[in-house]
Symmetry: D2
Subunit: 472 residues, 4 copies
Amino acid sequence: MSDGDTPARSLGGRFDEATDAILHRINRSVPVDQRLWREDIGGSHTHARMLAKVGLITEADRDALWQGLDAVHAEFEAGTFLFQEADEDIHMAVERRLGELVGEPARRLHTGRSRNDQVMTDTLLWLRGAIAGLHGHLSDVVDTLLVRAEEGLDTVMPGFTHSQPAQVSSVAHWLLAHADEATDHLRRLADLHRRIDASPLGSGANAGSFLPLDRETTAANLGFDRPSGNSIASTGSRMALLDAVGVCAMIGTSLSRLGEELVWWSSPQFRWIRLPDRLTTGSSLLPHKRNPDGAELIRGQGKVLPAEFAAMAATMAALPTGYSKDLQHDKAILFRAMDGCRDAVVLTGAHVAALSWDAERLRAACVPQLGALWLADRLVLAGMPFRTAHHLVGAVVRMAGEGSLVDGLEAVSIEHAVPDLEAIHAELTALTPEAMLTGLKTAGSAAPDQVRLQIDALRVRRDATRLGHAED
Amino acid sequence: MSDGDTPARSLGGRFDEATDAILHRINRSVPVDQRLWREDIGGSHTHARMLAKVGLITEADRDALWQGLDAVHAEFEAGTFLFQEADEDIHMAVERRLGELVGEPARRLHTGRSRNDQVMTDTLLWLRGAIAGLHGHLSDVVDTLLVRAEEGLDTVMPGFTHSQPAQVSSVAHWLLAHADEATDHLRRLADLHRRIDASPLGSGANAGSFLPLDRETTAANLGFDRPSGNSIASTGSRMALLDAVGVCAMIGTSLSRLGEELVWWSSPQFRWIRLPDRLTTGSSLLPHKRNPDGAELIRGQGKVLPAEFAAMAATMAALPTGYSKDLQHDKAILFRAMDGCRDAVVLTGAHVAALSWDAERLRAACVPQLGALWLADRLVLAGMPFRTAHHLVGAVVRMAGEGSLVDGLEAVSIEHAVPDLEAIHAELTALTPEAMLTGLKTAGSAAPDQVRLQIDALRVRRDATRLGHAED
Amino acid sequence: MSDGDTPARSLGGRFDEATDAILHRINRSVPVDQRLWREDIGGSHTHARMLAKVGLITEADRDALWQGLDAVHAEFEAGTFLFQEADEDIHMAVERRLGELVGEPARRLHTGRSRNDQVMTDTLLWLRGAIAGLHGHLSDVVDTLLVRAEEGLDTVMPGFTHSQPAQVSSVAHWLLAHADEATDHLRRLADLHRRIDASPLGSGANAGSFLPLDRETTAANLGFDRPSGNSIASTGSRMALLDAVGVCAMIGTSLSRLGEELVWWSSPQFRWIRLPDRLTTGSSLLPHKRNPDGAELIRGQGKVLPAEFAAMAATMAALPTGYSKDLQHDKAILFRAMDGCRDAVVLTGAHVAALSWDAERLRAACVPQLGALWLADRLVLAGMPFRTAHHLVGAVVRMAGEGSLVDGLEAVSIEHAVPDLEAIHAELTALTPEAMLTGLKTAGSAAPDQVRLQIDALRVRRDATRLGHAED
Amino acid sequence: MSDGDTPARSLGGRFDEATDAILHRINRSVPVDQRLWREDIGGSHTHARMLAKVGLITEADRDALWQGLDAVHAEFEAGTFLFQEADEDIHMAVERRLGELVGEPARRLHTGRSRNDQVMTDTLLWLRGAIAGLHGHLSDVVDTLLVRAEEGLDTVMPGFTHSQPAQVSSVAHWLLAHADEATDHLRRLADLHRRIDASPLGSGANAGSFLPLDRETTAANLGFDRPSGNSIASTGSRMALLDAVGVCAMIGTSLSRLGEELVWWSSPQFRWIRLPDRLTTGSSLLPHKRNPDGAELIRGQGKVLPAEFAAMAATMAALPTGYSKDLQHDKAILFRAMDGCRDAVVLTGAHVAALSWDAERLRAACVPQLGALWLADRLVLAGMPFRTAHHLVGAVVRMAGEGSLVDGLEAVSIEHAVPDLEAIHAELTALTPEAMLTGLKTAGSAAPDQVRLQIDALRVRRDATRLGHAED
């Protein structure tokens, strides 16, 4: 800025006073939005090219701007860029520095542009990259889950409902519960990425520009499918950000469930799984501790993400449609959510890759009562109405206590009700957890052959979520 | 139930005591989930057909079940269905009544089915319908916005940023800010609807069934594209519900912004728009009042919806993957969110259709300072760097006070800086709000020809979000 | 209403049209606020008394109103009160019915009153009662926790951090963790109750009344300490409701933690505690199931309550100070939060009272490694710096594996570092879980004598939270 | 750390592997908790004093520790303290540095202490200070509101409900709506501050210590009223933090409402108030802009705070009672909430102090219809039932349109209904906004004499919230 601007009042000749110090401090977004330097410089590069193309600046100006922007870029990369206290935001900081480097052409860069369209352009460019990155990390987690599942196809473990053993299941089937839901999230990420298809650049402050800007060209050069539509919505809405934070919140919710399982299942009472030393930490006081901090951090981070959705919605809530300064909070929330989600995803991948399971303990946890559904279904196949079978097996379980269902079956007099009781008795006597696993018949069940089909299907579904854009 | 079950302990011979009264009261979900009766009966119809097809029940049983289900359906339709205190949920209530009506075949209906897969089937069926309904209502609002926009293409009004006049805009352009965002929501709804493509029926309690259920057939008969994959995820996740509530929250956030505008813009200080008497209400104390309650309810409902997302996420947070009873809260939240969103959408449509605007007051609100960007851009076209023009026009505005920018321009000595100052002076003198509107050049701007293009584009985009399923 | 009012337009001669059906439906709050009938009638009773006292109505009018209000009260109690479709809210319904019963005097009841102050009076009266009720239920839970703790003073169990055994603790100490936090909540409830000390009645719609109302008298008669101050805040704020929902959210968060422990600790891998049959439920499919639904409902309800705080805050967010219709959502949220919190508290009490613990399994879970801190502290007492002791005991634990620390100690050569190693060796050899429990020295620790002191202190602290108001 | 620890595995001899890089990065809390350096050093100072007092360290060790802690303190103050990558958190960083400075005594500092009690001690010390600071800032805002109110006692303005003029009010009455609610918040802050009365120091990791720590002494030396009770709750709960964030959320919600009013009432359509240049900012594109960014930031920050409450609750939700690593998110949330709330409060004070109002425009906004309640109440005083008066005045308003109510009164034939119609007619003709203001009779109303009483009462109430602790 020149023309005698005070640092704190760079934007024009309209004001009598400098900005109040407290307002300047709270208003200043550099600590948060400096992270957008790469996108800001890239957007300016594209903008300058377009300005020259439509004749609003000369090619010499454009070349000077490009040279200057490259120099600023280099300073950021080298970590030598120096912000000044008067820099309100990343946009003004870059333009200020550009002015120091190339002089007058810098005063032409903001032609036909407002910070309102500029910041949305920067943010959406950043967000597309961050979504692509998150998609990649989560896709890796799905891969890892599927590979680990292949190792555990035949390893029986109890399937839980209400945190109580429900049916004989397998390690593979448990891992696939997470892989299945994660693949749905990949689909959400792909849908989300596809919906961020419009370039806000050229929307101006609110209603467009009197200058003949070529928005098609900047949109294409920035990798968008089209220029955005209505200029008010383009600059005053943060709905794409809310959308993204919503997907992070959904991913986080899923991961918190895996975190919970990792924590409990590695506890001494379970010891179903074991995490390697490198994924546990010690205590400052208790010398024997070996804590699953990573799993807890996955769970904790996952649980917090939905609050970021509420925060982002609150920034927009009940604002009139044009840009309002309330929206300034958007980026801190977005960065926290995207970073936190990515961290949780990456940490999850490390855990899934490294955990081992104790097949013997898992098998031992397949308590006799898990035969109850087998017995009920067997009675159904023998012709008994399911409700009758359910009631009868309940009595069998009660008589058996923690012992074998065979004992229970003998204690309950049901000869009259079941034609082939002798055969059932023999089958039940011979019933192993492995037999219960392989005896499952339905698509989506824990039976190894079904799980194998599901693994194949998930690989196909995951591939169908691939993002189409080159830049990511 | 027979076999001497106490009412409060219908599920089997496993227990020594009746359920505690306080647990029974809080556990009982009939007050909420009775709303799913139609889907529950429909799902049972389909399930019975499949059971007969694979030979698990006879055709006679199936016909008896169908007859009974039709009778129960008729009772619900007629409002004569009587719940009993012992009915834990809609599923047990329907099955109990069915037993009263058809006897033993009712004891065979639950063969190969758990309430865990049953309730998810019911809920997803309901949700698909509700999403389709919401999509329809919101699509109607978009239509109305576009029709009203066509009426206001040439009606100038100030475009606001920071709730301060920013540029000359138009009524059409303002309405399109809402139409544009609503069309994005239609896209979200269509993506969401498409993602709810898998039938949970046949997933069992947790790990599948020992019976040869045909899940492909039930999925197809219920209008799903496929049976769901992993049976743990199918019964223990509520992610599709969270996804839906998230879209409701996004829609609500948008509507809260329109509500805010309707409230303020119909206040006496603005009187930009007027709502008809039928959309306002009176005061119990103040005889003169004419309050925009509808607009306030839109705003209030919209603001609350993101909290429902947080609530739904909290129900799932950090649960192990199989079904846990914490998930029981899901339906109350889902119904509130879907109902509240639909109400806000429908009420919005009524307001958009009925509001009138005061073109004279809107024009008068286009204060002289709105020429500032025109003047700056005009100076740019005359060769001045934008930053110089911005600074100079700031001074012009300051000199002009609330008067004409022409006076300000005369007070600022800039002859040296602008070659064709005389022409600019003349153009500025003749500048009307209408000229500023039509002078906008960019795609997405408020210029009437651009708005017309946007209206056409939004109609195309809206049509592209059509849902593909016949049942909706 | 008379004077030819249409039902849907009862409030005055100001309007040309009836209210739109969709607005009437969404605006109508009877389904939610009918719950306030008792407070509404009580407030009107008090209001009528004051009107007569200051001469705004005659004593005959007052008596007629009282008679009529008693009759309406009796109808509500008997369940015979009939709402009409045109009744907008509980206030208009009561006044409408009163008019049918007593004629003209009913037209004088609303003198000097607005629904804005009326509804806040009703709501705060209800809320004070609900807080008192919640305080009573939670106080009962604290009692139960303390009584059960006295049973478990000497019963060792592992104290967990990171869901891993950390130290030898006791059942009493665990229960006191909950009692301590619950007592803090009682204090919050008492502070909250004390802060709801001002009667809004007489604040009018927004700025007060031209009539000589005696607000001191109505405040005293309703049991408040004072009339509220500023009439705008009295009618346009819902901060007391947000405050109350915040305390519910805090209570819920605590309860969700106990729910989590009840769920896991009653699972087969733990079997530390057992819930009686009457607090568990069965499965529709799996005959053997015995699920801790109550504990899960406590956890699930507790987790959802913070979202109600977000919802209540959202209703108020960014509204101008006078009453706006957005606030209509307040009561649905308040009722849900207070009801849900009360249910979770009551259900918690039932669980704490009924659970039993398995002292043998709890003792067996006190693994040898829990001696690590004992050993480190013992080495400190022998003069070793704590960090050195911590490091050394870490090595001891590692060498010991899952065996006795004595073995580990022997495997680590530390003679040089510890003067009285022989004594330590002997003490460690003899160390039992019970010895570790009683060896704890600090205030607030799990040592039985300390826990006994804490129980006494909590009884004193709980008594100090007693609510002071007679009406509760 | 010595003994050959790798930097990333400082805590003991228990582990075979270094911590995984990704876990170390996410687990490391230094970027957030370094802010607690002052409290951490202060707490260690107190801890060392107690250790010497009870004979666990020598006086020479204590003096060495004090000297070292002072040196570390000086490094932090000077900004020269260097964190190392291996420093997990502020506690380990301080202890590591202390070891470098004083050698062996540093290895004795952690005697009888865990990071679990240490971090809660640090955090509560910090929080008490932050609450006291916030209380001070908010108290200043109340002062400013009351002083400004005294300037505006007689300045009429419309009081709004539903964003529509409801009654004649005053600038003072409007400011007092905010002062009243803010004073309630001061009370909440005082209650909150009083509830944070217990020192966690000495609670150990989970169940207490085997060493004879004197917790009474450390509690007193740190300014607490007592040592905390149950050691599990003391180390595993974050309820005090949630409580604090809840009060921040309530304050924020109130401020968001003032922000909303500042934004709209300074807009051109209102111009009721004016903010000085130093509290407005410009636009990068629009040279004429003068935006109320400060007011928008108050509103935006206020709206976001309730989401921090949800986030804090989520970190604790459904955790078992002992410390879990999920709680690590607590400090980032707490700092954001306390900082954001303080910023919004301070910025609010600056706005209240600096805003000016336009008495003429405010008076002009007192439209004739605001006489409606006066007229209705006047008819009541003449003996007419209120409902009849309400209905009749509704018709008067309708006939009057935007003109004088006198015209309306003449157009409605009511001679039969009102005995002293002539007097009323004359009074109405002479009715000014000022007369309507001074004509208000009720406590809490906008009448200048009543507002004066309220100002006095608020000063008394504010003084009653003074915090009692010297350290603050």
